[in-house]
């Protein structure tokens, strides 16, 4: 059983969706919708950086809504990882960092992966499935 996560997105530096996975039934979307959400988030993230009153802002990290929380992590190369989860879910920052770690290991070190293209790597899927298990997420937060 996955922790209270609804879905996970990874978008490349130009806003293209390269990985999408949904967990559980709530908030399930078809392919077109997920692509739309990804590029929408990419633009919002970019706009937020410019609108921010604080200088050196790196973009939205958390969006809280009535029915969901959206946590976002942007890597140094501009790849964005974000999860949509139940409001108030804990340890999402560390989960995103861990997912980034998995991405650098099992995607970037895989000779058959083409940069900026959709991720199709068996080892990444296997390790990701383990990472989003409820007890594992709590462990990451420690």
């Amino acid at each position: 059983m996955a922790a209270a996560i609804y879905s996970l997105y990874i978008i490349n530096k130009s806003g293209g969706l390269i990985y999408y996975k949904d967990y559980g039934s709530a908030g399930r979307m078809d392919t077109n919708d997920s692509l739309r959400v990804a590029s929408l988030w990419h633009s919002m993230h970019a706009i937020s950086q410019q609108l921010s009153p604080v200088s050196g802002c790196s973009g939205i990290e958390l969006l809280q809504a009535d029915t969901f929380d959206l946590h976002c992590y942007q890597s140094l190369t501009g790849t964005k990882f974000f999860v949509v989860c139940e409001p108030g879910t804990q340890h999402m920052e560390s989960l995103l960092k861990y997912i980034y770690e998995l991405y650098t290991d099992y995607v970037l070190k895989n000779p058959f992966y083409e940069m900026e293209m959709p991720i199709r790597c068996e080892l990444f899927d296997i390790n990701l499935t383990q990472a989003v298990q409820k007890d594992r997420v709590a462990f990451l937060g420690r």
Binding site: Y106, K109, N110, P111, F112, L123, F124, I126
Partner: protein, 194 residues
């Protein structure tokens, strides 16, 4: 890498002592280098068999050198002359130097007399690699198979060495088996030696 700064720098590689010293290198650095090796070779070929052959050739050169080094360092310039001797040399000594551990198992093929198998639950070179579905049974362990062939060939045991994925029951990931098929002359000689 830890301890690199402390190492004495030799201008001539031949002055360097052959004793072990610190042997570990960064796994990430190796993984990226190996990934580039595979990607480069992929641009040079038009089919998977060819890619496998090129990786094997790259490994062969490593194997030939490893044999020379280890015979000198560990065995006082002697090398194994018997079949089982050289196999356990590959399985333990070579594996330990290259991968930091002995191989998981060394078995004799059940169907053919001239076949031996070295199996590894998770081969180091395959640690981060997922083979795309359209590449079928391709295995990057071909590089390791090449190393084994290099060692065996250099020691006077010509063989055909291939790497295969073998599914394991109850495991999500298959293990890698390095299949060694010795040339006829090797078995004849072995029989003569008794």
């Amino acid at each position: 890498m830890i301890g690199v700064g402390k190492m004495k720098q030799y201008t001539n590689v031949l002055d360097k002592p052959l004793t072990k010293g610190k042997q570990e290198v960064s796994l990430s650095a190796f993984a990226f280098l190996f990934s580039e090796l595979v990607q480069y070779n992929q641009t040079q070929v038009d089919n998977i068999g060819e890619l496998e052959r090129r990786l094997e050739d790259a490994g062969y050169a490593v194997g030939a050198r490893v044999l020379e080094l280890l015979c000198h360092r560990d065995k006082g310039n002697r090398r194994e002359t018997r079949l089982l001797g050289i196999l356990s040399f590959v399985h333990s000594t070579v594996w330990k130097v290259l991968f930091g551990k002995v191989a998981d198992s060394l078995e004799k093929g059940t169907e053919h007399e001239d076949e031996y198998m070295i199996s590894e639950k998770e081969l180091l070179v395959n640690r981060f690699i997922s083979i795309p579905k359209d590449m079928g049974t391709f295995n990057c362990g071909a590089f390791v198979a090449g190393i084994v062939r290099g060692v065996l060939d250099g020691a006077g045991f010509p063989a055909v060495v291939t790497a295969h994925f073998v599914p394991v029951e109850g495991q999500q990931r298959p293990r890698t088996t390095i299949l060694i098929k010795f040339a006829e002359e090797v078995l004849h000689r072995e029989a003569r030696l008794g």
